[in-house]
């Protein structure tokens, strides 16, 4: 009975989303305020229905209701409670439900926090989000109903893929989806602006905090995924250019361009059409990401679902969204004249260059990801495009990106001179060069040009950001939160660059064969292997190795990599032994039993690895601070007053 309540709630939510999508638009066309007001009530009711549906599915997992096919296929009684809950979004149907629930939550938040935005605009924004939601809910109801029952009821369910039984992964998809779906707000604002034919600084101020917050979630989501892949997949890498990782990176790149382009649109009234395009593409790429991951078109560990019917639905949905938005854009964009003029030497130019670089990077990732699919579909051969391709293009592109990232901050809006820029940046440039040359000479075992280049970029990006805050002419503590946010995000990027550089240049790894008592030296550390025991876990049996790391004869770390067996029908899992540190990670994974107590082991020494994720956390914190700047609320109040005055005059 209870699952039917969930199903019914989902149907109601679908009907409400259609109402939310269509009725306010009719009100908009006729100018009837009360009809437009339907949007706000519809979204509340719809959110309630989605909460019920989501709650019911969660309850079915907690109560082990195996009559629900989705529960039986993804959970069993031996699974610990937290993983029964995270199993709700562990596979296709449930993750769609989560997607749609998050969409309605974003829409609810928009309707709640935008009381100062004119009703006409809010009605349009909510109706566009309603239409997107209607698409996703019909997708669920017609092709992938999470509440579908099965008879006879199995006594025990199938286990959740052991890879997914992990706290990092329990929160990775919700984070990522918060980011993906969050771009639907920017998208809806963009469509609303095109439909209304008006795009001004007030519009950019409404859209900016929402876009920032979506970007923050996406940043955290990607970092979490990278961290999870590092410690859980047992491969020891932090980024694999796997199609699924690429799927989340593409909206991030375009989203990064978007938050900067929005700044120009707000402050200078320029880049209007470009901002709209970026908003459309950030969301479309989020949809593409969902499509790539969930349709099973990719040969990837992540493509758990494979059903061509579903893939076709998302593909058509994607084409409909992109097609209709671009048509609207082609029709309306010429009307949206950018008013802000700027000279060649100006912050606008800097931001424009970086926007273009980010988009080119995104296109690179898109081509590399889709190329194998396209050649296979056209029967041109089965190609694969690996990490060397992405590295060969992305690394050279990132150099000008980081250079301009520093100059952009120091440049003035509208008009600046090369002379002033040189004067501003000379000190920073010299300091960065010194850091880039001296640090490798002092600390590194050998002088690596790539390390010097990476450190130059990192210190340039970090120091220009610090310099920018110091030169604002105000004490840093009296400056708005947005300035701090920008500075922290840029410093975070610098940390990530440092981490990526050092771990790429000085990473040491080795596959070795060790007998108990034997040891192996890697990067100054002596790894001593003390053999393997068998241990019993909650729902697995593991072979657990003991490895001690010694530095100058002193024991500094103890690691216990495991090989877990989750019982018949389940794949074995490698659980790495990791000793994390701010300046280096030691990583050991068990390979195979080679007989006589000897095992093959994979050992790594990874300097500065954590900086990659710490930098991502800083970027997220910076984005959040920028979104919370009180300027948005203050100016929104002013905008509202002006708009009301205009309405009364008219």
């Amino acid at each position: 009975m209870i699952p039917e309540i969930g199903h019914y709630a989902l149907i109601l939510a679908f009907v409400l989303s259609v109402i939310q999508g269509v009725v306010p638009l009719l009100g908009n066309a006729t100018g009837a305020d009360r009809v437009m007001a339907v949007a706000r009530s519809a979204i509340r009711a719809q959110w309630l229905m989605m909460a019920v549906a989501f709650g019911v599915l969660t309850y079915a997992f907690i109560a082990n209701d195996f009559s629900v096919r989705y529960v039986a296929a993804n959970s069993n009684t031996a699974l610990p409670l937290i993983y029964r809950i995270s199993a709700v979004w562990g596979a296709h149907e449930g993750s769609l439900l989560l997607w749609a629930f998050i969409l309605t939550s974003w829409a609810l938040a928009v309707s709640h926090f935008s009381r100062r935005i004119p009703d006409r605009v809010v009605a349009r924004v909510l109706s566009i989000m309603g239409l997107v939601g209607a698409g996703f809910m019909s997708f669920m109801l017609f092709t992938s109903n999470p509440f579908a029952r099965q008879f006879p009821v199995p006594a025990e369910g199938r286990s959740l893929n052991p890879l997914l039984q992990d706290p990092g992964l329990a929160i990775h998809p919700p984070m990522l989806y918060m980011g993906y779906v969050g771009f639907s707000v920017a998208f809806a604002f963009a469509i609303a602006a095109m439909a209304g034919g008006k795009l001004d600084a007030a519009w950019a101020r409404w859209a900016r905090p929402w876009t920032n917050i979506a970007w923050v979630f996406l940043t955290f989501g990607i970092a979490l995924g990278s961290w999870w892949a590092y410690y859980e997949l047992g491969w020891g890498g932090w980024w694999f250019w796997d199609p699924v990782e690429n799927a989340s990176l593409m909206p991030w790149l375009v989203g990064t361009a978007l938050i900067h382009s929005l700044a120009v649109t707000e402050k200078r009234g320029a880049f209007k059409a470009w901002t709209l395009l970026l908003a459309v593409f950030a969301f479309s790429l989020s949809l593409l990401g969902t499509f790539l991951v969930r349709s099973g078109v990719l040969t990837s560990v992540h493509a758990f679902a494979s059903d061509p019917g579903r893939g076709m639905f998302i593909l058509f949905f994607l084409i409909a969204v992109v097609g209709s938005s671009l048509t609207l854009f082609a029709w309306r964009a010429p009307k949206l004249r950018s008013t802000g003029r700027f000279e060649l030497t100006s912050r606008e130019t800097g931001l424009l260059i970086n926007n273009v670089i980010l988009v080119v990077m995104c296109v690179t990732v898109l081509l590399g990801t889709l190329f194998p699919l396209i050649t296979e579909a056209l029967a041109m051969g089965k190609y694969s495009v690996g990490p060397p391709f992405f590295n060969a293009v992305m690394v050279p592109l990132s150099v000008p990106l980081f250079i301009v990232m520093g100059f952009g901050l120091l440049l003035r809006w509208k008009r600046d001179t090369a002379q002033r820029l040189m004067k501003q940046s000379a000190l920073v440039l010299i300091a960065s060069l010194l850091i880039a040359v001296i640090l490798p000479l002092v600390w590194a075992p050998s002088f690596e040009p790539l390390m010097a280049l990476g450190l130059l970029m990192a210190s340039w990006v970090a120091l220009t950001a610090l310099m920018w805050v110091l030169r604002q002419g105000k004490s840093p503590f009296k400056q708005p939160l947005a300035n701090w946010g920008a500075m922290i995000a840029h410093v975070g990027m610098a940390m990530t660059i440092t981490g990526i550089t050092l771990v790429s240049v000085f990473n040491s790894e080795k596959d070795i064969r060790l007998e108990p008592g034997q040891s192996y030296e890697l990067a100054g550390y002596e790894f001593r292997f003390d053999g393997v025991d068998t241990v019993q876990g909650p729902n697995y049996v593991a072979q657990r190795g003991s490895i001690f790391a010694l530095l100058d004869g002193r024991e500094v770390a103890e690691m216990h990599p495991e090989k877990r067996n989750y019982g018949p029908g389940q794949m074995p899992m490698t659980e790495a032994g990791i000793d994390a540190g701010l300046f280096r990670d030691l990583f050991v994974a068990l390979g195979e039993d080679l007989g006589d107590g000897a095992w093959s082991l994979r050992v790594y020494h990874k300097p500065f690895l954590r900086w990659i994720w710490l930098g991502a956390i800083l970027m997220g914190v910076g984005g959040l601070m920028a979104a919370l700047d009180k300027r948005y609320r203050k100016l929104a109040a002013r905008d509202a007053l002006q708009l009301n005055a205009q309405v009364q005059q008219a």
């Binding site: 893929n161 890879l163 560990v301 694969s384 495009v385 060969a392 293009v393 596959d511 080679l594």
Partner: protein, 149 residues
């Protein structure tokens, strides 16, 4: 030309040059880093390139896995039930590597015609068959029962 137009032209030229450069970079990287997929019978027929990376997939022949004593070097045979190629690999094999399983390897042929793998991929699912391998098995009429893919 007015100064405003000149500025705009400079900007456009710069952008076009930059994007063009990026495109050239991409084209070059594409050419160098693309790995085609080959089946064992194509390799024995000499269709696969020598000294260029490619991917080779097939079923691991039962009883063909030989490990060198005291080292991490493994040798095994990959078959598409038409022809068989011997693969050499040094390192740790993935968890799901086993005899009778469909796998994909990436590496290159050496002068003597054996395949030196840099990477061995077995997917994270016991029932999973790499789509490329499944297709070549289907052609040979050897797709095991119950393999939907």
């Amino acid at each position: 030309m007015t100064p405003a137009r000149k500025r705009r032209l400079t900007m456009v030229v710069l952008l076009v040059a930059g994007v063009g450069l990026a495109a050239a970079l991409m084209a070059k990287a594409f050419q160098e880093n693309m790995n085609l997929y080959y089946e064992p019978h194509q390799v024995t027929a000499g269709e696969a390139p020598v000294d260029h990376d490619f991917r080779l997939g097939g079923m691991v022949v039962d009883g063909s896995v030989r490990r060198e004593e005291g080292s991490l070097t493994v040798q095994f045979d990959l078959t598409d039930y038409t022809d068989t190629v011997t693969v050499n690999y040094t390192g740790i094999l993935p968890d799901l590597f086993r005899e009778g399983q469909g796998i994909i390897t990436r590496g290159r042929l050496n002068q003597s015609g054996s395949f030196i793998a840099d990477e061995v991929l077995a997917k994270h699912d016991e029932n999973y068959m790499p789509p490329e391998v499944a297709e070549s098995l289907k052609k040979a009429g050897k797709l095991p029962d119950g393999e939907a893919q």
